[in-house]
């Protein structure tokens, strides 16, 4: 069992790895308010779970695990209008490469249509996690991860095509 650090030291540690939480909140929420709520909840759950962190896995892997478990098991009513209006909020960025931004929006929309487990798997895959690491975080076999990822990617492909059709 790890000794609980003080809040400031732990906040610094989370701060260093906060990109992981941002990625998780991005996939599991629909807008800024929900995203901030989930970010806060994940930080809180990390703090609570830390005394049980034994250092067997890398801190970032453990952080991914807690963040995903929190996002998957948390049932909350959305405080945002479903949709991806927040993408349109960043017109400046989008103008730089409108086509790329449009593709990203399609990808994001497609990911948002996946179930919570598939979201977790594709997120880790996109984030360059190995099959072993994904299997360890999800508590399933490497083979299952491999089979599921093939299915999820195919499903994503179909969803993106569907979205493209709807938009054109």
């Amino acid at each position: 069992m790890t000794k609980k650090p003080n809040k400031k030291a732990f906040s610094e540690l989370i701060g260093k790895h906060q990109a992981i939480i941002h990625k998780v909140t991005l996939v599991y929420t629909n807008g800024r308010v929900d995203r901030e709520d989930l970010f806060q909840e994940i930080c809180l759950q990390l703090w609570k779970a830390y005394p049980n962190f034994r250092g067997e896995a890398k801190f970032s892997t453990w952080m991914y695990r807690v963040a995903l478990n929190t996002a998957i098991s948390t049932i909350r009513k959305s405080r945002n209008t479903p949709g991806f209006e927040h993408l349109a909020d960043h017109d400046g960025v989008m103008d730089e490469n409108r086509e790329e931004a449009e593709q990203l929006k399609q990808l994001y929309t497609a990911i948002s249509k996946l179930n919570r487990i598939d979201k977790a798997m594709i997120l880790m895959w996109l984030d360059e996690k190995s099959y072993e690491e994904i299997a360890s975080i999800m508590g399933t076999s490497k083979n299952n991860v491999s089979v599921k990822l093939v299915r999820i990617k195919r499903k994503l492909e179909e969803l993106v095509l569907e979205i493209e059709k709807q938009e054109s």
């Binding site: 989370i14 701060g15 695990r65 927040h86």
Partner: protein, 246 residues
Amino acid sequence: MKNDEKLKAMWNKAEKMMGASDYNVPSIEQFISGRSNDTAQRIKNMIVFDIVLKLLGLAALAIDFILYFGTTNVMIVTLAGIALLIPLVFYQQKLLNHFNGAADNGQSTRDKLASMLTYLKTAFFTTLLSISITYLFVFIAGSLAYFYAAYGYVRTLDGVDFLVFAGFIAIGIVFNFIVNQAQVKYHVKHLELCLSDLNDKSLELVSENIELQRKQDRTNKLLLGLVVIVGFVLLIAVFMNIGAAG
């Protein structure tokens, strides 16, 4: 669809485009000092609150014992209440530890979903039963203290009084069950869905485990059911004023 590498490269730009901004250390410090709104935290709060209530009930019964010292039958009722409440406090503490283990987010996703589902489908009913028992004992302890303050002895209640008091307690217990069961039912469905999405066999394996746990938990439920009956007998003993002449 783009190839895998292009997809990954595209995703890496997502963060910037979505406008996710970094939080500074004081903000994160504030987050970890906040309060959680998730179901697990609500259940944990419920168990902790019950332990506190049971301890208060114990203290009140001890005070009643002192107040009614010399009134044999009331002393027996308070001692019986204390003797039943002490193991219940330990039992609830055990359930809290069990729940903390089940709700730990540091486990793998499958283990977290499975352990929460198993807890909610087996031990949660026992938790509610243990919480319901607290109402009885707190009511007994409170009534005895009230009678002492108001009359200096246990006042005789007629049949109607008894029905009203017992009715209120029964309604409280049933209401507590219905509200919590409804909330948990939704959560159970969510967990089952996630487990089956994770792996077709996961839910099957967890279901087998749940059946096993249910069989093991049967003894606990029977014992708790027995305590409820004894609690009601004690309640009747107080209300029927067996101690007044003690």
